[in-house]
């Protein structure tokens, strides 16, 4: 099989090929390492790990031969550079971590390693996962492999897990890990025309993942198909006694849950998501999605989530508040880059003032303010109460429906540099993803079509807590109906 052909395979088919002996993990890995190199102009990886990848590939071939392989064995993946990887520089896309090399391995990356995956490298992201366009990365923005036309500006892959999404879309990884705090898996998946899944809060361990907002952060997979996302999530998920917020839930065979079909499922369409001045392309892709699931046998009903528009302001209190404390440990004392100052506080302030980028500083300031004496009740406590109401909205809706279908984003990928002057307009990218984050619900983004410029558009399915099965099933129905098989230019041209 040619390298180009190898790069077209998804996890399900590549796994079969490996087990059938059609090709080896080493061959597959070499193809991907070429792709990683060829796609460098997209600034996808902060750290490439080719030596580690080849060692992983050797081990994978061994385990395939020995018959001890898993569904993920031999799969070359990208790892968001927010997961601590033992012996491999981990940056969170921030200068403040300096040359930090974790002496430990995050639970998720350890599980993926144990399952026989091949680590291609650490992917780019918004600094500390704070952003929706990957532009806050200290290493420069990752670039979306989708292009409007030759002469137009490069597009954002979305954020914060932009590098991971771009890697999978560009064929520089068969799948990748992401983390989603307010939409950081789903939005870049939609922008890059791939599948991104944020599982229920508590499904995936947060141990060893650089924290942004602890009550919201969830890891999840990027993949080319719904089935691949299900396969990969199965490896990532599972109870972790080292994470007190990790759910003591058995991990189902997610792949098996895909095939149930959606006949008789009740799918809610939240009317409040039909926001003012919603672009026609979004409205139309949403209508198409509704038709698709209806045609597949689901029953579509309108539901109301009255607090929808309160979710974003709530998020922009809760997340910065938690972040302001989570990022207090970056003080130049025990690891990371230190900037000397006149005295201890001078060192702290210089280290943090210069080590953090603009958006991170902004959010720490907001978070510090909303927690500070005299403002706690007015902002933080208030936001927590509204969060309760948002969560109750979903509870109520799930009395009458099994899942919700919404757009993932209010638009398609936009050029890098746009929306940079106005934080709030950037924040609005997450308007459809944030509510499910606040409620801790599983949600997936599936590519369903493209806009008139040929850019992919995604739809989001939100499920009940721990009902990833229904989310995957509906996702599969959309994928089957949409037959979205467009690939960005680089993948096709680079490896033909």
């Amino acid at each position: 099989m040619s390298k180009s052909e190898l790069l077209q395979l998804d996890i399900a088919t590549a796994g079969k090929g490996l087990r059938d002996g059609d090709f080896t993990a080493i061959e597959l890995t070499e193809a991907y390492l070429d792709a990683v190199e060829a796609s460098r102009e997209l600034n996808i990886f902060i750290t490439e790990t080719p030596d580690r990848a080849m060692a992983d590939a050797v081990a994978a071939d061994k385990s395939i031969k020995a018959g001890t392989s898993s569904k993920m064995t031999g799969m070359p993946i990208g790892m968001k550079d927010l997961f601590c990887t033992q012996g491999i520089k981990t940056t969170a896309a921030s200068n403040i971590l300096g040359e930090f090399i974790p002496p430990y391995e995050s639970t998720i990356s350890a599980r993926l390693k144990a399952a026989g995956t091949i680590l291609l490298g650490k992917t780019n992201l918004d600094e500390f996962a704070m952003g929706s366009s990957n532009t806050t990365s200290a290493f420069g923005a990752a670039i979306n492999p989708w292009e409007l036309t030759e002469d137009k500006k490069p597009l954002t892959p979305g954020g914060s897990s932009g590098g991971s999404a771009a890697a999978v879309a560009a064929g520089a990884a068969i799948a990748a890990t992401g983390t989603d705090t307010g939409g950081s898996i789903r939005q870049p998946a939609a922008f890059c025309g791939i599948v991104g899944m944020k599982p229920t809060y508590g499904r995936c361990s947060r141990w060893g993942v650089v924290a942004f907002a602890s009550s919201l952060d969830q890891a999840g997979p990027f993949a080319r198909t719904v089935r691949d996302a299900a396969i990969m999530l199965e490896t990532m998920a599972g109870h972790d006694p080292k994470d007190s917020t990790s759910a003591a839930q058995a991990t189902p065979n997610f792949e098996a849950l895909i095939d149930g079909g959606v006949k008789g499922m009740r799918v809610g369409i939240p009317k409040e998501y039909r926001v003012e001045d919603m672009p026609e392309e979004i409205d139309s892709i949403w209508r198409r999605g509704i038709e698709m699931v209806t045609a597949a046998g689901a029953e579509v009903v309108e539901v109301s989530l009255p607090m929808t528009m309160s979710a974003l302001p709530t998020y922009y209190i809760v997340a910065p508040a938690e972040a302001s404390a989570n990022l207090a440990r970056y003080d130049g004392v025990r690891y990371g880059a230190r900037v000397e100052g006149d005295d201890l506080n001078g060192m702290y302030s210089a280290t943090r003032g210069q080590g953090f980028g603009k958006e991170v500083r902004r959010r720490i300031m907001i978070g510090t303010y909303v927690l500070s004496a005299g403002y706690y009740d007015a902002y933080y406590k208030k936001a927590q109460r509204v969060r309760t109401l948002i969560s109750q909205d979903f509870d109520n809706a799930f009395h009458s429906v099994d899942a919700l279908l919404t757009p993932t984003t209010p638009g398609a990928a936009f050029p890098i540099g746009e929306k940079e002057d106005d934080p709030i307009s950037m924040y609005l990218n997450d308007v459809f993803t944030v509510p499910a984050s606040l409620a801790g619900l599983p949600a997936i983004s599936v590519p369903v079509g493209s806009n008139e410029n040929g850019l992919p558009l995604g739809l989001q399915i939100i499920g009940r807590p721990f009902d990833e099965g229904s989310v995957f099933r509906l996702g599969q129905a959309l994928e089957d109906a949409a037959q979205f098989d467009k690939r960005p230019r680089l993948t096709l041209e680079g490896f033909k």
Partner: protein, 484 residues
Amino acid sequence: MSTLIEGREGQWELVIGLETHAQVTSEAKLFSGASASFGAKPNSHVSFLDAGMPGMLPVINQRCVEAAVMTGIALNAEINLVSIFDRKNYFYPDLPLGYQISQFSDPIVGEGWLDIELDEGSTKRVGITRLHLEQDAGKSLHDQDPFRTFIDLNRAGVGLMEIVTEPDIHSADEAAAYVTKLREILRYLGVCDGNMEEGSLRCDINISVRKPGGALGTRTEIKNVNSIRFMREAIAFEARRQVEIIEDGGDIDQETRLFDPDRGETRSMRSKEDSHDYRYFPDPDLPPLVLDTNYIAEIKSRMPELPDAKRSRFVNELGLTEYDANVIAADKSSAAYFEKAAEKAEPKLVANWVMGEVFGRLNKDGLSIVEANVAPEELAALVVMIQDGKISGRQAKEAFEKMWSEGMGALAVIQELGLEQISDDGAIKEMVASVISANPDKVAEFKAGKTQLLGFFVGQVMKASKGKANPKAVNAILQEILGQ
């Protein structure tokens, strides 16, 4: 007792509230599996969490929860079935996460009280506001290098119970009595070793002065006082300082102060100046700590008897004096030693022996009661022999010395020393009979009314027994036989 202090313009009342930090006796830290023990090589008892590494997460140590619940019960306090861990945010090099995980709005233990004994024999009830669990900080070493402060995180994350009183304390004596009593309870429960020098128990003193019955004054907080003596000195100094400032027309700054034991004075801690705004909020890494009533009942059932209960039982059931009961119950191991011995022998007599000979020898040898060379069972055996009249008190002391120095049992010592008295009626009767038959004239005189000869007969019998006959028994038998 007057607790008022004399100023230039009349009397002032001291108002004191104490915050005591008690280090939980546990294997591991409050949220990590690193050892909580003292004295290790710097930064060796440190996990990645304790070092504040990215992505590390806390998991609550059940031992620390249990210690807090036990202490709460002992302080007659309500145990909150749901409590919350909060983040207390401030920057300091010995605080690796940039926040201390503590409990703020919903502590594990709510209101309670503790009765303290004052010198006059009166008791006073001190209100307990709360008890909460929190992490200890690491250690900053300022004197190792001319330009740098060194950081050792071995203590960072060790579990502490912070026990807060109401402002019910009005003198250094009361404060000392409170800490003494609290330490006694913590040690009884085995939840804290109470070692103030090593810092396992340390007090923050909130102190203000006011005109008796007047409105509360502005308070200062004296941090980390680590002995009862220093506490007395700190309170005396600070009270005087505040009275002088107010009498000079000044105002007290609400501030954190440090007690300097070398100078015997308190001074302002400028480093804490700007850390007032702690921005407490619930730690999103830790779901609520939820206890159920069965768990609490189970802990209660495992709790040892507390000093106050022990004291009153010693007085009411075992017949000890208040004084004896206080002395013996002040220490859990002494009480255990006493109780073990008192199971088999007369408690009051045992108490005398414990407080006299046993404590005396321990003192002399510099040992603690668990190291006593005479086991409580052996002490009991010795006391029983005194009770039964088999040996005299003087002989018992002789025996005790040998038991202690040679580690022998009571019976073996008595036999070896030949101390055992002959109390056997048959044997004494035989000796009495032979003395009577050997002295017919004296018997006749006695019967004629010269009863003072009884002493002569006793002496003869004792002589015949080589001093081993029990004089009481000899007396009784002689009277019985001669009286016929």
